[in-house]
């Protein structure tokens, strides 16, 4: 942890605690036992699949295959400030940027000696293979018209990445208002990570959830790190169980706004709300198909909840399960070919999987007398679900390949797990503090981080794409 302290010596204690999740350390790190073989293989595959650099960009340093299972040590000197207040830069740009790098799985932060004037040579001696220079300035925005009122100045951030030989691997400028500083940090790290492994990472992903902080349970969104929490529904009723569309532009959820439970679809900015009229009761646990326009949900006729499909324009209602038992909580596999769900047909709620046409039903969970909330990993090989163990609900991750499962231990009840779009993290809800809050952890259960603090918060759903 000393590395972070010396890099971000202006960060708060809380930030240092949050930064603990450095996934990949150099081999000499005592933490290296944490690496999972799957992640190492994935990184190796990603590195080998790196796209050819375009002509306009300087070639990134060649990848040493023997280092493929390691992260890239990167040094980020505190930025040069040109008459810019340091507090805003530290809290809203430098802090989020270094935290993003720390959990990227691609880079590891290198401790730097204190003081300004970090040259590439200094960084190299400190062990860095890459060094990221940030330069920040104010700039008046380009006038849209001569009569328009003068807009407030914008930040211009220049990011330049050099390798230890001084060759530039990335040079970009980012411009935005003060309110966009954190978003700029996430974009910079996305660009850096994409530069190295071809994929942008989860730094611009969002988590939808339910909070009662404003009096009623409503739908909210937040950044993947808990930042920018904002409300998008205003029913003044009970609204629950949001779920992202595959393009992350819309959400489907259930609201009690009409004294009964209805499905609604709303744009990510809160506009364009429509209600889906199914003619059924319940209309809960709605979830978009990753392909096409279908929504799977729980509908009920005469007290018999079953899994149904409906198109997102409210047409073409289909029933997938026909048993007299309770069926609930459908979730599509990443390919859209299968649907997991919860059924009480055995006498207790258990996880089942069927084809997306309703055939080939098979039971997945056998341990525990109450299992629910199944969610697929992005590679389709695992299910995370809520499983009662010794009277408490815990997150269980089951491999659909081997049938083996493991519990992610935690205090209190832990429910409604969901994977990050890169499959490396889980989001879930826990009442370990006495109130329901939303947490993020690695899929191995380490580095649990609370994301919400105000009111009761639940029903997290991670956006699907990596923008």
């Amino acid at each position: 942890m000393t590395s972070f302290h010396s890099i971000g010596n202006q960060q708060s204690t809380e930030q240092r605690v949050r930064q603990r999740p450095v996934e990949r350390r150099p081999l000499r790190s005592p933490w290296r036992w944490r690496r999972s073989p799957a992640l190492l293989l994935m990184t190796a595959a990603l590195l080998s699949a790196m796209p050819a650099p375009s002509q306009t960009q300087i070639t990134p340093p060649p990848i040493d295959r023997s280092l493929a299972n390691q992260t890239v040590p990167i040094a980020v000197p505190y930025p040069t400030l040109n008459a810019v207040p340091a507090a805003a830069i530290t809290d809203e740009l430098f802090g989020p940027l270094t935290r993003d790098l720390a959990i990227s799985g691609v880079f590891s932060l290198v401790p730097l000696p204190p003081g300004a004037g970090i040259t590439p040579e200094v960084a190299k001696r400190a062990g860095a293979q890459q060094i990221l220079y940030l330069s920040i300035a104010y700039s008046a925005p380009a006038p849209s018209s001569s009569t328009a009122p003068q807009a407030s100045p914008e930040f211009v951030i220049e990011a330049r990445l050099y390798d230890s030989t001084g060759v530039s691997g990335l040079a970009r400028s980012y411009r935005g208002p003060a309110a966009a500083l954190t978003r700029m940090a996430h974009i910079i790290v996305s660009d850096l990570v994409r530069q190295f492994n071809g994929k942008p990472g989860i730094f611009l992903t969002q988590i939808a959830f339910v909070s009662d902080r404003d009096g009623h349970p409503e739908i909210y969104l937040m950044n993947y790190d808990g930042g920018n929490q904002r409300r998008i529904t205003f029913h003044n009723s009970i609204s629950v169980l949001p779920s992202w569309s595959p393009d992350d532009e819309r959400l489907v959820y259930t609201s009690f706004a009409r004294k009964t439970t209805d499905m609604y679809i709303v744009n990510r900015n809160g506009g364009g709300r429509i209600r889906l009229n199914t003619g059924l009761n319940l209309n809960t646990s709605a979830t978009f198909s990753p392909v096409g326009h279908d929504i799977a949900f729980v509908g009920s006729v005469a007290g018999n909840p079953d899994i149904y499909l409906i198109r997102d324009d409210g047409t073409n209602l289909r029933r997938l399960t026909t048993t007299s038992s309770i069926e609930s909580t459908p979730e599509w596999s990443p390919t859209g070919r299968q649907i997991s769900f919860t059924s009480g047909r055995s006498g207790t709620p258990q996880i089942y999987v069927m084809d997306s046409e309703g055939a080939n039903v098979r039971r997945i969970s056998f341990e525990g007398e109450w299992n629910d909330d199944a969610s697929w990993s992005p590679d389709g090989e695992s299910l995370a679900y809520t499983s009662r163990v010794d009277g408490r609900f815990q997150i269980r991750i089951m491999s659909l390949v081997t049938g083996q499962s493991r519990i992610i231990a935690g205090e209190g009840s832990n429910e409604q797990p969901g994977f990050s779009p890169d499959g490396r993290f889980l989001v879930f809800q826990s009442n370990r503090t006495g109130k329901w809050q939303i947490y993020r952890a690695r899929v191995d259960g380490s580095d649990v981080l609370p994301l919400t603090f105000v009111g009761e918060n639940k029903d997290p759903d991670w956006s699907k794409k990596m923008p």
């Binding site: 009761n281 319940l282 009920s300 709620p349 909330d373 609900f393 409604q416």
Partner: protein, 204 residues
């Protein structure tokens, strides 16, 4: 209020019976000698004091002079739907049904509660009913929403078998969203595993 009148009538009659007797015995009766084997004289027992009130003499109403119309008392019934529900719950017109853990079958107590409800509903065909299915917190949110739906419908079906028109009954599942008791004890959970019956006013 008829009780008050009846009471005063009794009092008047009793007074009329006492008054003539009281006039005859203006002096206290001689002390009774109580035969005793003891040497000490028996204590003199004082007579109870007699009330000599000066209340006006009761006037006997003329018989068969005017025949009063039978007394009718009117009471304002709760008209506002919230007042109606409050009255229905406190007076037991409608009664909530409670369930066992992870169960949606009606216990005999639940059947009795719904039986009383059916009786009242059948005599009030103008009022419709909403059955809210609720669950305790010891389950998952999504499955409990489905369980609450089943609980609400089992009560609806039972009321229908008792002769209540099912078209008057709507159901909604709240799952674990609206616990009656926010506690985390078996006592609280037992309260929260219920069908809450809400009168929904006239019409359907």
């Amino acid at each position: 209020m008829s009780n008050v009148k009846f009471g005063s009538l009794i009092a008047t009659i009793a007074l009329a019976a006492i008054l003539p007797a009281a006039c005859k015995h203006k002096t206290p009766p001689p002390p009774k000698v109580i035969p005793s084997t003891l040497e000490t004289p028996a204590p003199v027992v004082a007579p109870p004091p007699v009330e000599t009130t000066t209340s006006p003499t009761a006037v006997q109403a003329p018989v068969d002079f005017v025949r009063e119309e039978p007394k009718v008392t009117a009471e304002v019934l709760p008209n506002d739907i919230e007042d109606l529900n409050r009255a229905a719950q406190t007076r037991g017109w409608v009664q909530d049904a409670f369930f066992s853990y992870d169960e949606s079958t009606l216990t005999s107590e639940a059947q009795a509660a719904l039986g009383a409800t059916a009786t009242w509903l059948k005599s009030h065909p103008d009022i419709s009913l909403l059955i809210e299915g609720h669950c305790d917190e010891r389950g998952t949110e999504q499955y409990n929403l489905a369980l609450g739906d089943r609980r609400a419908n089992i009560a609806k079906e039972y009321l229908a078998t008792l002769g209540v028109d099912a078209g008057r009954i709507k159901t909604v599942s709240y799952g674990v969203e609206r616990p009656f008791d926010p506690g985390h004890t078996e006592q609280a959970w037992a309260k929260n595993r219920r069908d809450h019956l809400v009168l929904a006013g006239a019409g359907r």
